[in-house]
């Protein structure tokens, strides 16, 4: 009986495990192997360099670390600004306000839009000569605020981070909303009967019950943002100089531009390991947070 039950448990994960082993574990193993070689991605001969690629990434590749720093900055903006926005909007739409169906639909437009459109529109808004934003500043009498938003090293990264957050908040909104919906209404009503104000209800019921969902969104945000690059190509191409360069662009540059396929594989693996560590810390911290509440 017990043996049968255990077998049944494994049957549940078996389909996932099979697909995963063939289409992820195996290529991953191969890529890791390639990371140990100096290989241009074409020739039949590969030169074994052991951990040489990894050593170079960690100790010599300054631009790689600069790109990590940029990505971390964008992620920080996304974690705070994007998720706060998403959470507030989800809270608003969870309540019985008018037009909430309308809002819910509209907020999901940015994630659906193609990066091509988003890039073109924001380039037009942020353009240094004919840009909407600069025109706006001139019109309201603050012409000194006008600038080349995307090619000024002081603003380029912030602009990219902002647009990325704008494009991504719909996902957080959606997941928060799904989370808020699973909070039983009876809890709110019970709290109201007890005479709790809106803030009290939020603090005592909504917030603690939403912590797991927040962790989920936070982890997904970190992963989504650290790996973002299509929008960055569309907006700045990683420039000016290295100011909006991100790790995935570096990996692509090694793979295509410099034909260092092995090095690109090693970069991908090191990048992933860092993300795993960050996410693990997040996960751990969230457990602590849950214990407090």
């Amino acid at each position: 009986m017990r043996a049968k039950s255990t077998l049944e448990n494994y049957l549940f994960i078996l389909p996932a495990l099979i697909i995963f082993s063939i289409f992820y574990i195996y290529p991953f193993y191969k890529v890791f192997q390639l990371g140990l070689y100096d290989w241009d991605g074409i020739s039949p001969t590969k030169v074994f360099v052991g951990l040489g690629n990894f050593k170079e990434i960690i100790f010599e590749d300054k631009i790689w670390w600069k790109s990590m720093l940029n990505a971390s900055y964008i992620t920080l903006v996304a974690l705070t600004f994007q998720n706060a926005l998403a959470f507030c909007l989800a809270l608003a739409c969870d309540r019985q306000i008018r037009m909430r169906n309308f809002y819910r639909t509209i907020f999901f437009i940015p994630p659906v839009l193609s990066e091509v459109v988003v890039g073109l529109v924001w380039q037009w808004i942020l353009d240094g000569n004919y840009g909407i934003l600069n025109n706006f500043f001139v019109k309201i009498g603050l012409p000194h605020l006008a600038r080349n938003w995307l090619s000024d090293p002081k603003t380029a990264l912030n602009c990219v981070a902002f647009v990325h957050s704008w494009k991504g908040f719909g996902w957080g909104f959606l997941i928060f909303l799904a989370g808020l919906q699973t909070i039983p209404r009876e809890l709110y009503e019970a709290a109201k009967v007890d005479g709790a104000g809106a803030w009290q209800v939020f603090k005592r019921i909504t917030f603690p019950l939403m912590i797991p969902v927040m962790v989920l969104v936070a982890i997904l945000t970190v992963l989504g943002t650290m790996q973002a690059f299509v929008l960055i190509i569309a907006m700045t191409g990683g420039g000016p100089a290295y100011h909006t360069e991100v790790p995935v662009l570096r990996i692509l540059a090694s793979m295509r531009g410099s034909s260092r396929f092995g090095y690109a594989c090693a970069q991908g693996i090191s990048f992933g390991v860092i993300l795993v560590i960050v996410s693990f810390i997040q996960y751990r911290l969230s457990r602590k947070a849950r214990e407090i509440y």
């Binding site: 994960i13 191969k30 890529v31 390639l34 306000i97 091509v116 693996i269 992933g272």
Partner: protein, 282 residues
């Protein structure tokens, strides 16, 4: 006690402020959409010279040309087929696994779960080369099955993560009741757990549908036969190496965006209704 009018004014002001805030966000979301639709009705010559959102002359024929030139009829069907197959596959496979990770105890559970999570985080940029060679050996390259399986794998880890978080949150009482009634584990998963998880399943569906709908790099690499390719490939026709036919591209993008917005629209009601229907008290 304060005057009742105080509460009413406070409520109205708050409501106005909330709506104002929401409307600003709405405006920022609608602007690019309207720009895209407006641009799809312009010509290559006016698209960047006439900057108004509503063009003076409406070139509806752009949609016809985009549809014809891109060969949308075929690619549309392909993409619908891929999206439905992949999303169905992901929902079944990942909800089974996530349910097991959330509810059962078995040897290696945490190890396997964390491996899946790590997979979600480690991008393998060079993986298309081993994948290509592998698919070739399995005779799955240039087949729809090969593509579908690869795409199921792409969405698997994130979906498992999403679903497990929500399964963990869900009350177990109903499941216990079903077990006492003699339901098998699989029966409970299908009859009890999945209906309860509707809101998050809807999120999983939308997330993966968008992913599959927008994918084309993998498709280009593993398909030799253009007839098997998905919709996004049609869009690349308008973005030539040198010439981008912007109005046709915008028309194509608008056509492509519609089904996804529709999916979201359909799924939205599950995201919202989910629990009020289930009527479960935690």
């Amino acid at each position: 006690m304060k005057h009742p009018l105080y509460y009413k004014t406070k409520k109205i002001t708050l409501s106005i402020l909330t709506h104002l805030f929401l409307l600003i966000v709405v405006a920022s979301c609608l602007f690019p959409l309207l720009w895209m639709i407006g641009s799809s009705l312009k010509t290559q010559q006016t698209i960047f010279s006439d900057m108004s959102l509503i063009p003076k002359e409406m070139h509806w024929e752009n949609y016809y040309h985009a549809w014809k030139q891109g060969g949308f009829s075929r690619y549309f069907l392909n993409s619908i087929f891929y999206t439905v197959s992949v999303v169905t596959g992901i929902v079944l496979v990942s909800s089974l696994a996530a349910y097991a990770f959330s509810r059962f105890n078995f040897v290696g559970r945490n190890l396997i779960f964390y491996t899946f999570m790590a997979a979600m985080m480690i991008p393998i940029p060079g993986s298309f080369v081993p994948l290509y060679v592998l698919l070739n050996k399995l005779h799955l390259r240039n087949t729809q099955l090969g593509y579908i399986l690869c795409m199921i794998n792409v969405g698997l880890s994130t979906s498992i993560f999403l679903l497990k978080t929500f399964f963990d949150k869900m009350p177990k009482e109903l499941e216990d009741a079903a077990r006492i009634d003699g339901c098998s584990k699989l029966g409970i998963w299908w009859h009890v757990a999945l209906p309860l998880a509707k809101p998050v399943l809807a999120v999983v569906v939308v997330f993966n549908a968008l992913n599959v709908w927008n994918e084309y790099v993998l498709a280009l690499i593993i398909f030799d036969n253009r007839n098997l390719m998905p919709l996004q490939v049609a869009l690349t026709t308008f973005q030539g190496e040198f010439i981008t036919q912007y109005p046709l591209l915008m028309a194509g993008l608008t056509i492509t965006a519609l089904p996804i917005i529709l999916v979201y629209f359909l799924m939205q009601k599950y995201i919202v209704k989910g629990v009020t229907q289930g009527a479960v008290v935690g």
